[in-house]
Symmetry: C2
Subunit: 495 residues, 2 copies
């Protein structure tokens, strides 16, 4: 059946929705929330149907939500063909996995294809995610899943030769090593085009922090130009559409807070592979504040990364690091950016732990790529930092991305602040990372760039009675009040 | 924040949706597809947000889909309060179950409460359904689930004393025993108020077939009146809202075709208990065409029904019956209704297998309730049928429900028909029940009441070469053509 397009100027989030006249829907056997295939001469997409009273839409007028208009590239008055779709066979494969059976490569390919083309509904995708959670994917399945995600997404080429990269799994607060590692590596002549994410549940993602210093939402053309000139970049990866299937699955994983191992591996490694990475350092923080709590778990995860990397033809080095406490002092975009600049400028206010961890990871990456001989990576990285070469490179990247290098002292946190003091003197034994995140987010991070927390004391530090342990910053007074209400005796332990 | 109601006159199926101005949404931190709580002075509901361009809606104007207007009972221009909601704790219990841990009674209660109040999204409900599929519910969990479903739904009382009932699990084609059992039992003075379902995936549900003879969508008041006078009824159960939680879970189970044991038990038994049933026969067809394929499976299922029934204070008798072939000759509302009337009228055209199975089940129910002594139920049921008492009772029920008794010969199937003939002579060894269903549905059943299939030959019957095995009926020529295209050599096997 053919319909005339009417734009509704309504957005349904990640859902593709069209609205049909009730009379037409009745005649054509289309129910509310059933799926239809929309086609114009250019392409086809699958969309969910809502039903409108007959006064709202003409008989063969189809109301389109914004996402559908964009996906189809149509305008008001265009004609499109609408056909009901039946449940795709991939639903049976999802059920097969729920039954505990291993999926064949073509079955995984079909599931991922249907995720991307919107043939699978949210309910069906949710079943797939929970299936991979309760029935852990085998390495074969994970490999084919990763391949399918790569094949159904975009790929980017930054040219031949070594493409270095790093990734941190299940972060802890602060820990903004990327912004230090990238300029070190790039200053030594290696290519390291870093695509980062924005925060989902943390006070800041790497992209959020970099955005304090330079634009991060660059066109692919611009990104390539930056990398060609500077060797490195720090941009937001979302616009590159490297793993469309993964983005859709994440939209289902997120509300459930489910992070099945196989999906996580595929998500990370597909993006690396699609961006052409050849040598990748994987940082797995281990400890109380981190996602990985036991050494056995960390090692198992590490082996999975290595095996998957090998199958994909990438060199992977896994590093298990200390995840028992925040790294650095600033938490939140501006405060983290300031830490980073202090370190690159060799200012004594730069947090030592963040500097050391960054140098360690950079050194390992230099050795993995063969740029440094075994045992010489750390020294090479340290010289690049201490000579000012890394700072120079970072300024170059900032400029190329469209930013303006700034002194860290010009980076001011939110003007409203609240000091959290020690109720008694002693050694801080524990800082509650989850609560730190929640407080910083409630204060406005990452939307309000200046919101966050500055840690004066970290785990193992001595604090006097009434000494300031941390300061909460916010740009908005009400948010500061709400954030400071979250402070409780669970925030840190003194013994 | 307070909004003015604007009715959009759009329906979103089972979803409750509101549309917010993009500027307001940005300020209030509301994203597309996030959930908000809507409250007026009467009540509160949870709804999903879509976002509209600022030209579409005023800053504090909220667009309401039909389902929200109905649920809140508001009109255009009314003021309502809107507040963001966070993820309910029940999501953690769902995750706990996914991790393979047993849920406590209060956790199950909270999940079901959140299902009913719409606090859980489709994605979250889907995770719950798959959790109960891969991690089978224990009997304790099933019991508390059933109790929670009962507590959150409506209850109906048909007075004190015995309330008889029957249920068939995972039907086979035809098999319309209910319409014969109800008048037999009621004619013997027992109360048997039968609430039935419409078809979801079969060519007809009991309610669809009864609707050929009388209205089935009755008000609760009317239903009580019918039962008070006639002792029995056959009505559609959907409007009684006996198990609101179950209806919502089914909306998620259906697209996935998942039927986790615990949810199925709770779904069936909660409705029985809420309708006050005290003595229930459970018919479990076992065989190729049925849902239950092995005797071990059937017995396990039977024991679960008995144990759950005992805990709920109901007397349950499980009967495992032959599910290897269709029961009766007609498939589809009109054709089934005709079979039923022929049997009640003791017309020789009434299918013997359907008559015998109905008498067997009715006899067992009479013995279970104590109406008949052990071993005497079948005789009592047979006399009620052969004396014409059951027919008289059925006519009384039809009239009380608002129908007009009709002669079976006036019940005419669709005027377009297609004969399926035997390619060679021999004994029919197998009829593909799934394919029978699909053909009958494609022909228009159950929406077109006259559409369906009439089986001239069943399994174990001899057929000559070119003899008619079955006739497909349709009210619409195009649908007949589409249905007849589904006929293949898989439809039946002759040996």
């Amino acid at each position: 059946m053919r319909f005339k397009v009417k734009k509704l100027n309504i957005s349904g989030g990640s859902h593709l929705i069209v609205v049909m006249n009730e009379v037409t829907a009745g005649l054509e056997g289309v129910h509310a929330s059933s799926r239809v295939k929309l086609s114009n001469h250019k392409k086809s997409i699958i969309s969910v149907v809502d039903i409108a009273d007959k006064e709202v839409l003409g008989r063969y007028e189809l109301g389109l939500f914004d996402e559908v208009v964009e996906a189809l590239g149509v305008k008001a008055g265009d004609e499109i063909e609408v056909n009901p779709v039946s449940q795709p066979p991939s639903v049976n494969y999802i059920k097969k996995k729920l039954d505990g059976l291993e999926l064949r490569p073509n079955e995984i390919k079909e599931i991922i294809g249907d995720v991307v083309s919107n043939e699978l509904s949210q309910v069906e995708m949710s079943a797939f995610v929970t299936a991979t959670y309760t029935r852990e994917l085998t390495m074969d399945e994970t490999y084919h899943l990763t391949k399918s995600v790569i094949e159904t997404g975009h790929k980017v080429s930054f040219g031949k030769g070594i493409i270095a990269d790093k990734h941190c799994v299940g972060g802890i607060s602060g820990n903004r090593t990327t912004l230090i590692i990238i300029p070190i590596i790039a200053s030594l002549g290696l290519k390291i085009p870093k695509t980062s994410s924005r925060s989902i549940t943390s006070p800041a993602g790497t992209a959020d922090t970099m955005e304090v210093l330079a634009p991060v939402e660059l066109s692919l053309k611009k990104i390539k130009k930056v990398v060609k000139k500077a060797g490195g970049c720090v941009v937001w990866g979302g616009a590159m559409n490297l793993a469309a299937a993964d983005d859709k699955l994440i939209s289902v994983r997120h509300p459930l807070a489910l992070d099945p191992l196989g999906l996580m591996l595929a998500s990370i490694m597909a993006k690396k592979k699609a961006a052409g990475s050849t040598h990748v350092i994987i940082d797995i923080p281990l400890g109380k504040g981190a996602k990985t709590k036991s050494i056995g778990e960390a090692k198992y995860l590490g082996r999975q990364f290595e095996e998957l990397g090998q199958r994909l033809g990438m060199k992977i080095k896994v590093l298990i690091t200390d995840g028992n406490k925040p790294i650095g002092k600033g938490i939140g975009p501006v405060l983290e950016a300031r830490d980073v600049l202090w370190i690159l400028e060799r200012d004594s206010r730069g947090p030592v732990d963040l500097r050391e961890k960054s140098l360690y990871l950079a050194g390992e990456l230099l050795e993995l790529t063969g740029k440094a001989n075994p045992g010489e990576g750390l020294g090479m990285a340290t010289r690049a930092l201490d000579s000012g070469a890394a700072l120079k490179k970072f300024k170059e990247i900032i400029k190329l991305q469209g930013g303006k290098p700034v002194s860290p002292d010009k980076l001011e946190p939110g003007k409203h602040s609240f000091e959290v003091k020690a109720p008694r003197g002693g050694i801080i034994r524990l800082i509650n990372d989850d609560l730190i995140s929640r407080i910083a987010r409630r204060a406005g991070a990452p939307v309000d760039k200046g919101a966050g927390i500055y840690l004066y004391k970290n785990v193992d530090d001595y604090v006097e009675k009434e000494g300031v342990v941390m300061t909460i910053y916010a740009e908005n007074k009400r948010l500061l009040k709400e954030a400071s209400k979250l402070v409780s005796e669970d925030l840190f332990k003194i013994k």
